[in-house]
């Protein structure tokens, strides 16, 4: 029975290769747009994560803080569930960093009789807690210590990065659904045409007592393979586009394997779903 379905699906391609090719190409182009956007989304995500890694809370310490108090502070902060690591920057290190980073003011720093820069602790958060709420929560906790002068964490930055990521995710989801619908309509139309082209066969199948499942199976396989072929085509086109852009315009990272595999397989699944939907509506006509 499975052999029959597979053979009939292959026969369908042989009978109307143009139709299958057109359909796979259309799906390929739809998914290509999605793939291109996938690369953009992925690279924006990679960049934002790199920026996120730099999100940290800096607590400036009073000059009269004792070594014991500093020890307590660091140990307490390290124990927060949101915190990945704590680095102490002494007054001396702060001055050295400032002189390195602000080289043009080097003379000003050198002429100072005393070091005006405060010591600080730089608190890095775990990846899952680099959102505005967690950052603010940690900052508020640290600010409660009396020997902490001030706490800074670039509130606007954190908010913007967070919003950008959410916006990127939402656009990806909307485009994904839109192009999936386009692909479903294309495959649905192809399968409907295939059903019409084979209506006599279907009528005979019904006459002699073939089951609905048996009649449907070749069409479902045809839809799945058409979608899968479209998925492969999209993968090739996306890779070609990536090769053209990467290095010449901007440096890009290629999609993770799981994304590429899932995208290609999604083509097949969209094909299967579209066929099932088209068959449900149109096969009943030939009772």
């Amino acid at each position: 029975m499975a052999n029959h379905s597979l053979r009939e699906a292959v026969v369908a391609y042989r009978r109307a290769p143009g139709l299958g090719l057109l359909s796979a190409t259309s799906i390929g182009l739809s998914l290509f747009v999605l793939g291109t956007f996938g690369i953009v989304t992925y690279n924006v995500d990679v960049t934002l994560r790199a920026i996120e890694r730099r999100v940290e809370v800096v607590a400036y310490l009073r000059d009269d803080i004792t070594a014991a108090q500093l020890e307590v502070l660091q140990s307490d902060v390290r124990s927060y569930p949101e915190v990945e690591g704590v680095v102490h920057v002494s007054k001396f290190e702060a001055m050295r960093n400032a002189m390195q980073q602000l080289n043009e003011f080097r003379d000003v720093f050198t002429d100072l009789e005393m070091n005006p820069l405060p010591a600080s602790i730089e608190v890095r958060l775990k990846p899952d807690f680099r959102n505005p709420q967690s950052v603010e929560h940690v900052a508020q906790l640290i600010d409660l210590y009396p020997f902490v002068e001030d706490v800074r964490y670039g509130r606007e930055w954190v908010n913007k990065i967070y919003q950008l990521r959410r916006l990127g995710g939402a656009i990806a989801a909307i485009l994904g659904v839109a192009f999936a619908v386009v692909a479903i309509l294309i495959i649905g139309t192809t399968v409907r045409m295939a059903v019409l082209a084979r209506r006599e066969e279907i009528a005979v199948m019904r006459l002699v007592g073939a089951t609905d499942g048996f009649i449907r199976r070749p069409f479902l396989l045809e839809g799945f393979f058409t979608g899968l072929a479209g998925g492969f085509l999209a993968l090739l086109l996306t890779y070609a586009a990536y090769q053209v852009v990467d290095g010449s315009l901007i440096d890009l990272e290629w999609l993770p394997t799981i994304w590429a595999a899932a995208g290609t397989l999604a083509g097949g699944l969209i094909g299967l779903f579209a066929s099932a939907y088209a068959l449900r509506r149109h096969l009943m006509t030939y009772a």
Partner: protein, 230 residues
């Protein structure tokens, strides 16, 4: 074996096609359904083949009832009920043998059994030498023989024939009718729709159910109320 009980069939556009039709066709029986065009002959065959349900009443075929029939059970029934039409309905891109093999393949028959069965059936309908011919290379009578062979492929308990000689010349028609009688003689019941009154008169030993405007106006064996479903 086939029983229609107070069956009505109404179509939204053309109105009532069958009005209170009841009859019982027993195992191995041969019956003509006659009447002018549009009297409901084909509708009765469609209901027996469960191509559509009655609007009211009940159709019982070989243990299946239209009242309890589920869509997934229809294929099982159709393997017990063979059907042929005036226009043969063969697949034009397949040979006679392939048309029969197709009917076996799509109902899940093992590949090893198909060839032998196809040859046996073609021999039974007198077409052993034409197995490799496409429908367009066969005469009308030969095409109807292929269609008959296909209808018999699952050894049905009843053969439904919708004007099977309608498109044939006299000689071919006689051949097809003789074949139908042979099929009946081997135990398969036959329900044949025809408007050929000459044929009906000539074979007066067979039962005649006459329709007019969707109602039975004559039944040579009045069995509408009888029991004995088998």
């Amino acid at each position: 074996m086939i029983k229609l009980v107070n069956v009505y069939k109404e179509y939204p556009r053309s109105g009532l096609a069958l009005k209170n039709v009841s009859f019982h066709l027993r195992k191995g029986e041969f019956a003509f359904i006659t009447g002018p065009s549009g009297s409901g002959k084909t509708t009765i065959l469609r209901l027996v083949h469960m191509a559509e349900p009655p609007s009211d009443g009940e159709v019982r075929v070989s243990g299946h009832s239209s009242k309890r029939m589920k869509r997934r059970d229809v294929p099982k029934l159709r393997r017990r009920v063979g059907i042929v039409f005036q226009d043969f309905r063969l697949l034009r891109d397949r040979t006679a043998a392939e048309n029969l093999a197709f009917a076996l393949e799509v109902t899940g028959t093992r590949t090893s059994e198909i060839k032998g069965k196809v040859q046996r059936l073609l021999a039974q309908v007198g077409l052993a030498s034409k197995s490799g011919s496409f429908p367009d290379e066969l005469s009308g009578g030969e095409q109807q023989r292929v269609a008959m062979a296909r209808a018999l492929i699952h050894e049905p308990v009843v053969l439904l024939a919708d004007e099977p000689m309608g498109n044939l010349d006299e000689r071919a028609a006689r051949g097809i009718f003789d074949l139908t009688r042979d099929i009946n003689a081997s135990g398969t019941a036959v329900l044949m729709a025809t408007h050929d009154l000459e044929l009906v008169r000539r074979y007066s030993q067979y039962r005649v159910i006459e329709l007019s405007e969707g109602a039975i106006v004559y039944d040579s064996v009045d069995s509408g109320e009888s029991d004995g479903e088998s």
